[in-house]
């Protein structure tokens, strides 16, 4: 048997072999194939070395589960500002001492800071949050447009957060929101589009990608060419 160079053995299959997850017949066939194909043999040896080098795994900690209370809505941190801020940049009521932030690079810069009990900490693409946490964001888009923030819960509920507002290229746009007591995970989408999207349009984008888990749905497809977007996954920690 000779390997077909136009159809090489997949890395996944090599990993399954190295992990002992191939059935005995398939594993034997692979080993036999490697005897005639030095390149395949080298790949198998490399994958095995890489997996063995992974060594002892760190302990796995999974989020604690909580009973499901009635679903609540997001609450703006400063509702009095919301209406007045529809056409202007919404800023934080008091300037907070800005810790060094982790900045997303890509379609536009997104800085996220989590504030809990007066303590601020910069966040990345995965936020471990609790009810009552405040998430402060700063978006610096690479082009002018309309900024909208949407929240998608893992039960499929989708809602806009605050009002759509115009943004200017290179100019920071800030805002904040409070986490409610929804116990499941949710993803925040920060969208910069030419014009404001109707919730139905975003809902259709979600439905197009419904087969993908929320944890992997970091981009919403089909929102139109030129849409800039970044997203953050929020998972809830156990009750304090």
């Amino acid at each position: 048997m000779r390997a077909d160079p136009s159809n090489p053995v997949s890395r996944l299959d090599l990993e399954r072999w190295a992990l002992g997850r191939l059935d005995p017949a398939a594993a034997a066939a692979l080993v036999a194939q490697a005897r005639e194909d030095a390149d395949l043999g080298a790949r198998m040896a490399r994958v095995r070395r890489e997996i063995e080098a992974a060594g002892d795994l760190p302990p796995l900690e999974l989020p604690a589960e909580a009973p499901a209370p009635p679903r609540r809505r997001w609450v703006w941190a400063w509702p009095a500002f919301a209406a007045a801020a529809a056409a202007v940049v919404l800023t934080v009521a008091q300037p907070w001492r800005q810790p060094p932030s982790e900045v997303f690079r890509g379609a536009f810069d997104l800085e996220l800071v989590q504030v809990r009990l007066g303590q601020a900490s910069p966040q990345g693409a995965l936020v471990r949050g609790r009810a009552g946490d405040r998430l402060q964001f700063t978006v610096v888009p690479t082009r002018a447009g309309t900024l909208q923030v949407y929240d998608l819960q893992d039960d499929g509920a989708l809602q806009p957060i605050g009002d759509a507002r115009p943004v200017t290229a290179g100019e920071p746009a800030t805002g904040a929101l409070l986490l409610d007591d929804f116990p499941g995970s949710e993803r925040l989408y920060f969208l910069v589009t030419d014009g404001a999207l109707e919730p139905a349009e975003v809902q259709r984008a979600v439905e197009r990608a419904h087969a993908r888990p929320l944890a992997d749905l970091d981009h919403l497809p089909g929102l139109g060419e030129g849409t800039l977007q970044r997203s953050v996954l929020v998972i809830k920690e156990g009750a304090p």
């Binding site: 997996i51 063995e52 760190p58 997303f104 995965l126 944890a215 970091d218």
Partner: protein, 166 residues
């Protein structure tokens, strides 16, 4: 099926080394690889209701890929030593790209593209392996690598061979 906590721990024991190996290949260091590994399995736990029970390793590697890309997006593991991150020796006979310039060059890439360069040049992955990992075609990978390598020529050095045929 819905995975139980025990099921996922068992998957972690059996498949975790392979997921960690790929995260390590993308991130280039153990600490970031472990963070990506943790995030991948957290995402798996949150998405457990949607997992149909088939091909768990493929499912976990998909989650691991996203997690590792997110980690390098926010950690920029190349910041201190871009050449080491890409396993590129300083080019002979030519003015080497300063470390700060090299880091900024990698900053200008999409994280997925920086990862592609690393998999190719530091880890020696084949084009078809990169294509399989990213869920795209070999042709797309070759084209993207050619563009990336052209932009990163000063960093990679003239001795580093441009995208192989395989």
């Amino acid at each position: 099926m819905t995975l139980t906590r025990a099921d996922l721990h068992e998957l972690y024991r059996r498949c975790g080394p392979a997921v960690r190996a790929r995260c390590r290949a993308i991130c280039g260091n153990e600490a970031d690889a472990d963070e990506a590994l943790r995030d991948a399995f957290t995402r798996a736990w949150l998405a457990r209701g949607r997992f149909d029970g088939r091909y768990p390793l493929a499912w976990l590697q998909t989650l691991g890929r996203s997690a590792a890309i997110d980690v390098i997006r926010r950690r920029r593991p190349w910041a201190d030593d871009p050449r080491a991150w890409l396993d590129c020796p300083a080019p002979r006979g030519a003015e080497p790209l300063a470390a700060l310039q090299a880091a900024r060059l990698l900053d200008s890439f999409k994280p997925e593209d920086a990862a592609m360069l690393r998999l190719r040049h530091a880890e020696g992955w084949r084009v078809h392996e990169i294509a399989e990992h990213l869920g795209t075609s070999e042709r797309t990978v070759r084209r993207r690598l050619e563009r990336l390598e052209a932009r990163a020529r000063a960093l990679l050095g003239p001795e580093r061979e441009v995208c192989h045929a395989s």
